[in-house]
């Protein structure tokens, strides 16, 4: 099974590896935009005055931008065939999802979509066949 495989299997496995990379780039880019939006003007994201870190828009903005940049950087190494981009990719996506869940009350729709995208990233990173990275 290791050397001779049906062609469609290769295509699917290689496709998931590429999909994982693309999804990470997408989520990373979204985080950068989201973070910049918060840094530029946080008024649209203040639904609850007393909620956790409401007075720390700068902190949130920087955390989101940093998460995004790290995700993009990691995604660029995904096709190298090494293990570490995959492991750190899962860790970053999980961190992103947890951070988004915390941030969610500030803007629920964005956070929900990002969490779903993170879950897809984690699925793709965990399940792609490592012969295709």
């Amino acid at each position: 099974m290791s050397s001779r495989q049906p062609a469609h299997r290769d295509v699917v496995a290689g496709g998931i590896a590429m999909f994982a990379t693309a999804m990470m780039l997408l989520v990373g880019g979204i985080h950068v935009l989201q973070g910049v939006a918060v840094l530029v003007d946080d008024r649209p994201f203040r639904a609850h005055r007393s909620y956790l870190l409401s007075d720390h828009a700068t902190t949130w903005g920087c955390v989101l931008v940093a998460l995004g940049l790290l995700s993009i950087a990691t995604a660029l190494f995904m096709q190298s065939g090494r293990l570490w981009p995959r492991v750190s990719g899962v860790a970053l996506a999980a961190t992103s999802a947890a951070a988004s869940f915390l941030w969610l009350p500030h803007y629920p729709a964005w956070a929900t979509l990002i969490i779903i995208a993170d879950l897809i990233v984690i699925w793709a990173l965990c399940t792609f066949d490592d012969r295709y990275a």
Partner: protein, 152 residues
Amino acid sequence: MSTLRPEPRRTSTAVVRLVYFAAAAMVLSGAVHVVQGTAALRGDEVLSTRPTYLDSEPGPFWGWLHVAIGVVLVATAVGVLLGSPRALAGAAGITVVAAVASFVFIPFYPTWGVVSLLLNGTALYAIGTVGTTGRWAKTGAARPPQTGGLPR
């Protein structure tokens, strides 16, 4: 499927990879439950109160329950990674409990409850798929035959 045949090689099997996903989804779900529980314990104003629902506000009981569920989820995920069939069975159980707790939480904060329910559902799907492959129960997922330790 011959990919599931135990054979010593560098690449991990589809089941082993799904075990990682199940564990990751459980850890994420655990984190999310701790967040919900903490918000309930702090009496955060984001949580809405509905006069006739439960005790009208998520007090210490629901707070600690969610924190406990989160901790157990993470602990069980570690057990699943270590290849324990019992942990896998426990994972299915705690994920169902967590999903029910998420549903109950929905009126307090709908988006959190729905997202948390979604995470638990996803984890349960992965756990179920791993559990029904059969091979996992014999060898332990994170310990492929002959190699030992974490698969690469």
